[in-house]
Every structure is written in C-alpha cells, then in structure tokens.
Symmetry: C2
Subunit: 250 residues, 2 copies
DNA sequence: CGTCTAGTTGAATTATATCAATTCACGTGG
DNA sequence: CCACGTGAATTGATATAATTCAACTAGACG
C-alpha cells in the first residue's frame, strides 16, 4: 500500500515546487506552527512559503545537511531517523499533517527525513522566518510550545526504548497511533499504517521478526485484528492501554 | 561520595530558601537561561528568583505535580526520570549547573527530579517569568534554544537506547560526560561520577550488573581506569569515541 | 569492630536477535 | 484475466547478549 519498492533517489523532477499557497484556505493551519499567525500576518507568510510535492520514498533532507529550510507536513507521512555507521537505524518519529520537520534552531539538521507515502510539504526559509518572527512574538511562543511537546514525546519514547518489553513496546506504538488518530478526528479503533514492519521495528528498538511475532500473538489473544498487512484494528483497546501503560498513572 | 544511603524524604527543613540572590554576581549566568537578560533587566529577575539548597537524595518535584516553578541548577547534580508502575525507571538525564529543570510550557511536570548530591537551585515562578517574558522577547528565544538542545540530546539518547550494544552504551555515556566536562572547562580525561551504577544503568537501559561487567572489561582492555568507584579515568579516549560513535560521522 | 550498602563476579535463565524457509500480497506482462 | 515475479511478512529453529539470581568483597559509617 505505502511502499512501492526501490528507494529511488528523488530526482529534481519528483520535487515539484508548486509555488506560493494560500494559507488562508489551509485546512491544517490550526494544527501547524502557522497557527501563530493572525489573519493580518498571513499575507507575509504566504509570500515566504512554498508548497512541495514528493513521491513516496524520497528524501527530504539528510542528517548533517545545512538547515536552510524548515518544513510543515501538509499531507502524507514522513519518517525521521538517525543512522549508525553499520546501517543500524533509529527512527525518531513519523511526522504527519500538521507536524514540523526540522528545527528552527541550529545550523544543520540533526536527523534525516524521508517520505513513506506521497507527501505535500510547506517549505519556509529559516532566514525569512527569522525576519518574520522579529515582528510576531507569537511565533516564537508557538515554536516553543511545539518543541516542548516534541521533547515530552521523545522522553516518553526513551522510556519505551530503555525499559519496556517487546509486547509493551508494540502496544505503546499502537496506542500512540490510535491517540494521534483520535486527535485528528478519527475513532482510533482502526489504524492505517503507512510504514513497514521494519520501520516499526526501527522505531521501537526491535527487529521486524519480533514485531511480527508480537502482532501475531496480540491477534491470537484477541487484542487486535489485522485484516490487511497495513491495517490494524484495535479490538480490546483498554487491554492494549494496560499493556502499554506500564507507566505510573499519575 | 554521592549517595549516602536511605532515600530520605526531603523534610521541609532540608529545603532552605535563602531569599533573593544577586544575579549580577552569578558565575554560571552565561550558561543558564538567565543569559537572555541584559544587565538592565537583571533587577527584575532578581526580584523574582529565589535560591534553594537541598541535601543529596531529596526530591525537587514529581512527575504529574503542578508545575508552578521552573528551576535552574546552580551547583550539584540532579537526576530526572520517569517511573513505570512496577518500579522500573528510565532516567532522562543528569542536569548539572547551568541546566534547566522543568519546562516553561504545560501545566504539570512530565518527569520527576531528585538530587544526587547537595544541590543549589534558583527557583522562578512560571507565572512571574511569563510576565517578564512579555517584555523581553530574548527570553523566549533563549528558552527555544535550550529546548532545541535538549530535544537533540533526547534524540541522540533514543539512538543509544534503541540501537546500541551494552559496550557502546557505556562508551557513549562516558564520552558524553567527558564532553560535558570539557564544555565546562575541564580536561574531560578524569570523570567524577555523582551517580551510582544503578543510576547509570537506568539511564542507558541496562542493569547495574551489566554496567559493572562492561566497566571491568573496558578496564581490562585499557580504555579506562577506575581508581575509585566514583572516579573514571579515560585512558584511550579515541578508542572510547570509536566505540560510542557507531553514529554515522556526518 | 561490626553493620550496611554498593559494587563486583559467577552461574543459569531468558527474551530477543539471527538465520533460514515459507507464505502472502500485489503489480506486471503475457 | 491469469500466471509470474518480487519484496514484505510470517513462521520456525537456533544462537546469543543481557538479565536474573546469588554469592562474595570492599569501603563507609556509626
């Protein structure tokens, strides 16, 4: 469904820059950093933003690249990850619509970003954004809020990676996707995955085989159902939450 | 050296509030968020900050507590961590002098904080800080910069926890401490640990026994020396870096 | 001088990784 | 429309890194 084979290099032709967009009409603006801008400032924002379309499996940027731009995901799913020398990979997250890609601080990107599905992005020059920000303190507030949210998420994921068992990790991952789906207006009961088992494994610190085994076991136990490989129905979501939430309930 | 036995609850008497401090004379101001304030604004800051002294092994706050204050570590070492229901623990970091404790966003603390050594803290009411911030946009910039640094650190640690072997984890930890020591003006060759083997284990996702075994092996291999349990000399630091840096060198 | 805790070391266990077939889903081309 | 080929997912057998359980050692402190 999502992956279509060869991880072909994103030729320039694949990266269609579609010119300035009309932020006024943007459906996800309220969820993105652009929410910081009032109607009055939108014109300035529109002049600075470009929309880009990418195929599945194309890179957006690499770790270490000069960070001239930051991006907002408009549609589709991206994976952001760090690579080790011998090919090991740690996926840091799966940004979707409304999520920020790249950080407003620092000279170079601290992770690589690659699309999992066809993706539409808004691209903003960091230099221009900085110019804008000087006039709108609300923007830095919003960015601070976003970064704090990401930091809290990273720390929760550190707990998953450092201290949870394989079934707990898988359950945590599913519950997390479910919550995100609910936040975006879905029911959270039926998930459409846009990443492979291997990507799931690289996110929660396991191997693809172990992820597969755990999913099979969860299916046998009646906690989930997998009608198609890229679809997961959460049947007994409270049981999944219990498994995931080895966390102390505050 | 650091731990002195029972994790006694911090009685109120141990939390000595010493009143307002003179930020002007603060030696670590340049390294803390207060660096955002110019000489002119320091008076306002001084009126809002309180200095607090804590014994070793006292809690600063718990995960879930209402976050009325944020803190700056002035001296000593703190551990910040998340707990699971059954007692498992993931340590997120070991803030030292100049580091921020608690985040300027969100209603409650997302982790617990406990001192490892005697600690001096600056405490600022978040409400008052917010008032100050409205006048000084530089403060939010500084906080954004700090949060971005912490986020990058968390993501690096995710890679350690998700994808590295036990020796690589220990080496990563030692190199990280060494770099921090260098950044603070030390040589980075001789480390004074303020945390137990168990705390190290809870930070890098291992058990205390495994940490101990790896340290013994690194000693046998001549990469480090451990003259006292809480002191580690890095003998062949390049070899340690190689071991730690399974990371792709950009 | 004895007690207590942290640390180290050893032996046995186990969860997960690794290696190796199958099976499955899906797009392609006949 | 169906056979085929391809990559992903699943399943099984085995290996192994790290944990667990347990004993022992060494400082620290009363």
């Amino acid at each position: 469904m999502a992956a279509d084979g060869a991880t072909q290099r994103a030729a320039c032709g694949q990266r269609r820059v579609e010119g300035s967009s009309r932020c006024r009409d943007c459906e996800i603006r309220s969820r993105a950093f652009c929410a910081a801008f009032g109607d009055a400032e939108l014109t300035a924002l529109e002049a600075v933003i470009e929309t880009i379309s990418l195929n599945a499996n194309s890179e957006v940027f690499f770790e270490g690249d000069t960070a001239d731009y930051i991006y907002n995901v408009n549609a589709g799913t991206v994976k952001i990850f760090k690579s080790l020398q011998d090919g090991r990979c740690q996926i840091l997250g799966f940004p979707v619509e409304g999520d920020l890609l790249g950080y407003p601080v620092g000279d170079s990107h601290t992770y690589s970003a690659e699309t999992l599905t066809p993706v539409r992005l808004c691209r903003v020059s960091r230099a221009r954004l900085r110019d804008l920000a000087s006039g709108f303190p609300a923007l830095e507030s919003k960015l601070l809020e976003i970064m704090a949210g990401e930091l809290a998420g990273s720390q929760a994921q550190m707990t998953v990676l450092g201290r949870k068992s394989a079934p707990e990790r898988v359950a945590s991952f599913l519950v997390q996707l479910s919550d995100k789906s609910i936040a975006n207006g879905g029911t959270g009961a039926s998930l459409s995955l846009s990443m492979s088992r291997h990507d799931v494994a690289d996110f929660i610190g396991l191997t693809a085989e172990t992820v597969s085994r755990v999913l099979t076991q969860l299916t046998r136990d009646g906690l989930i159902a997998i009608p198609q490989p890229y679809r997961v129905d959460l049947i007994r979501i409270e049981a999944l939450r219990d498994l995931a939430a080895a966390e102390a309930s505050i």
